[in-house]
Amino acid sequence: MTLKRNIGVIEGLRYQGGGPQIAWLLHRLSGLGMVLFVGLHVLASFIGGDAGGLINQIYESWWFQIVVVFCALFHGINGLRITILDLWPQLLEHQREAIWAEWFVFLPIFGLAVLVIVRTALGG
């Protein structure tokens, strides 16, 4: 017997959870992304040679850096929100406000990092 579900993945995504659901989904995707990036990056550095060099070259490309910065920053800031709310559960009442605050912290840092990455890529 397996877990009985009435809801498929697509229907689950259509669930109108608003801000908390978006944060949950992005946290999950960025976490999986980082496991993949960091794992491949370490393995590529370990293997070295042409194959390893190629993977690390992709990692140094500007568009990939933007993806990695997004994952690391969002996962970190959202993770801090989860940690604080979980360790002080009485704050859970303010979870939606916390998610707004989280975006206010995330967007300027991410925007600035993207600006710097793109400017460096353009040779500035």
Partner: protein
């Protein structure tokens, strides 16, 4: 066989392994913030303010390994390659690896409820932790 879902009253909830791992995920997140803070403050003390841009500092922050500053304007890499930074990088990497692989397990548990599959995933993750730790620490230490 699926795991039966349990709803226990608060006074009957003990500290089982999964609860400890739940706590570990939160505490390791705080630990990684500490490593990040140490790495960024260290970078600023070593002159990153004028020799590195924000993206470079973030790259160094998320694992203070000397290869992460090679493509910047830092003139002397020696202070960035001390045993202190190697130990910090290894600890950061190990914390991130265990936090991340346990996270993968949590995600898999959300989509696969079969007991045999869950055991298989646990075996795979348990093997991956020491193997990737050794590879990662070797890469950091020899770079």
């Amino acid at each position: 066989m699926s795991e039966p879902s349990r709803t226990l009253p608060l006074n009957k909830r003990g500290l089982n392994f999964e609860t400890l791992m739940w706590l570990f995920t939160r505490l390791s997140a705080l630990a990684m913030y500490l490593f990040l803070l140490v790495a960024v403050i260290g970078a600023l003390l070593m002159g990153a303010r004028t020799q590195m841009n924000l993206a470079d500092v973030l790259r160094w922050g998320f694992t203070p390994n000397v290869t992460h500053v090679q493509s910047t304007n830092v003139p002397d890499l020696a202070p960035w390659a001390t045993p202190f930074w190697k130990v910090t990088a290894c600890l950061f990497f190990f914390t991130a690896l265990t936090h991340g692989l346990h996270g993968v397990l949590s995600v898999l548990d959300d989509y696969f409820a079969q007991r045999s599959l869950r055991v298989l995933f646990r075996v795979i993750i348990t093997i991956l932790v020491p193997v990737l730790s050794v590879i990662g620490i070797y890469v950091i230490w020899t770079s």
